[in-house]
């Protein structure tokens, strides 16, 4: 092993007046060194992130030009989710009524419960349709998040649809209202 022969070679006796040097062991305790080694290993293992990107599949519908080709959805099973700026989420069930009384505000955390509730209340699962309408102000992250929400809650029927002017106005209006109440 890692040892050196420290005994004075030959073994012949030294003269009477010569002092014997103290024999120092060359063995070093390597325990702290081992500790350090394993510490570094664990550090590197934990700080390394596996940068394996995953891919989320999105299949687009073909644009249907004629209205009779378009998919119809039952009103009772439809929920429309609108994405506003600053991670705001709005939704309404069924059709938007004239006074916009069923237009509700939510956020990315609560929308899951809304979806689960709606999904459970729908009589037949095939009638459950989610319509996603991102506004011009929302970010790419919001879109991915909401699509992810579809996967998480196993919503098989969903569609990304362009926002209408009425809805866009409603979104900006409720955002302005929310900002006003927050300031007061």
């Amino acid at each position: 092993m890692a040892e050196m022969d420290t005994s004075s070679g030959g073994g012949h006796k030294k003269g009477p007046g010569v002092k014997k040097g103290k024999k120092l062991s060359t063995r070093v305790d390597l325990t702290p060194m081992v500790d350090l080694g394993f510490l570094l290993i664990t550090f590197f293992i934990f700080t390394t992130t596996m940068s394996q990107a995953t891919a989320m599949k999105l299949i687009l519908p073909k644009d249907a030009d004629k209205p009779e080709d378009q998919n119809k959805a039952k009103q009772s099973g439809v929920i429309t989710i609108l994405l506003g700026k600053d991670n705001n989420v709005f939704y309404y069930e069924g059709e938007l009524d004239n006074t916009a009384s069923n237009f509700k505000s939510s956020n990315f955390h609560d929308i899951r419960d809304v979806l689960i509730q709606k999904k459970n209340s729908v009589r037949e699962l095939k009638d459950f349709v989610v319509i996603l309408k991102p506004s011009d102000e929302c970010t790419y992250k919001n879109v991915v998040d909401i699509l992810d929400e579809m996967t998480i809650n196993v919503c098989t029927r969903y569609a990304l649809v362009d926002i209408t002017d009425v809805e866009a106005k409603l979104v900006t209006l409720s955002e302005a209202n929310a900002a006003a109440t927050a300031n007061n």
């Binding site: 570094l40 293992i45 999105l58 073909k62 102000e137 970010t139 998480i152």
Partner: protein
């Protein structure tokens, strides 16, 4: 009669071997770690529960940076060569085909493509480049790019990937999707970083029941 004396053994163990092993492992891990290549276009990708690993071969990747600028990345050199030749004949751009083949990504309008290729590689940074115009429906150059890509692949289906920055606005995403749609590319994948499935949700229950996810 006394008991037989047990010889006293030292409790210290020779740690040299252990130390060797520890440092051997350490150097192994350090040397095998691949550093992420510094990316020319800085993009922070969103998280999703998708579990499928993004393909790395035959990719046609559209990148949207945080300002909504669009870039195109391709890995197949013969396809790129094909596109360069098409561009030279149809638009008379006089592009350097070799430089075009070597370029990892493209981020300039057709008119400025020649000067883009003339730039040294370390100056082709996402924030300095104009990006491919995709926003207007009248002048959507990305659509033309996609048409060329598709015709160069000749029936073979490349993997269309979309890599967007968290902060990119939706219109940028929509314009890319429009460009895809116009070329009948109806299937594409969005690059995300993995995230755990939240406990208690339907997907989680499915996973617990051992059902395989359709991706």
């Amino acid at each position: 009669m006394g008991r037989a004396k047990l010889p006293r053994k030292s409790t210290s163990i020779d740690m040299t071997a252990m130390c060797d092993v520890a440092f051997l492992l350490l150097s192994f891990f350090i040397l095998t770690t691949k550093f992420k290549p510094s990316e020319a276009i800085a993009v922070t990708i969103p998280k999703s529960v998708a579990a499928k690993v993004a393909p790395s071969k035959d990719i046609v990747q559209v990148i949207i940076d945080k300002d909504g600028k669009v870039f195109l990345e391709m890995d197949d050199e013969s396809v790129k060569e094909n596109i360069a030749n098409t561009l030279n004949t149809t638009k008379n751009l006089g592009l350097d085909v070799r430089a075009f083949k070597k370029a990892p990504f493209f981020g300039a309008p057709f008119a400025a493509l020649k000067s883009f290729l003339a730039l040294p590689e370390d100056q082709r940074k996402g924030n300095l480049l104009p990006g491919i115009p995709a926003k207007d429906s009248s002048n959507n150059e990305l659509t033309e790019w996609m048409t060329m890509v598709l015709s160069s692949y000749q029936g073979k289906k490349p993997n269309f990937l979309l890599k967007g920055d968290n902060l990119a606005k939706f219109p940028a995403f929509k314009s890319v999707v429009t460009a895809f749609k116009k070329n009948d590319i109806l299937k594409f994948q969005m690059v995300t970083s993995p995230e755990g499935v939240p406990v208690g949700t339907d997907l989680w229950k499915k996973a617990q029941a051992g059902e395989k996810r359709e991706e």
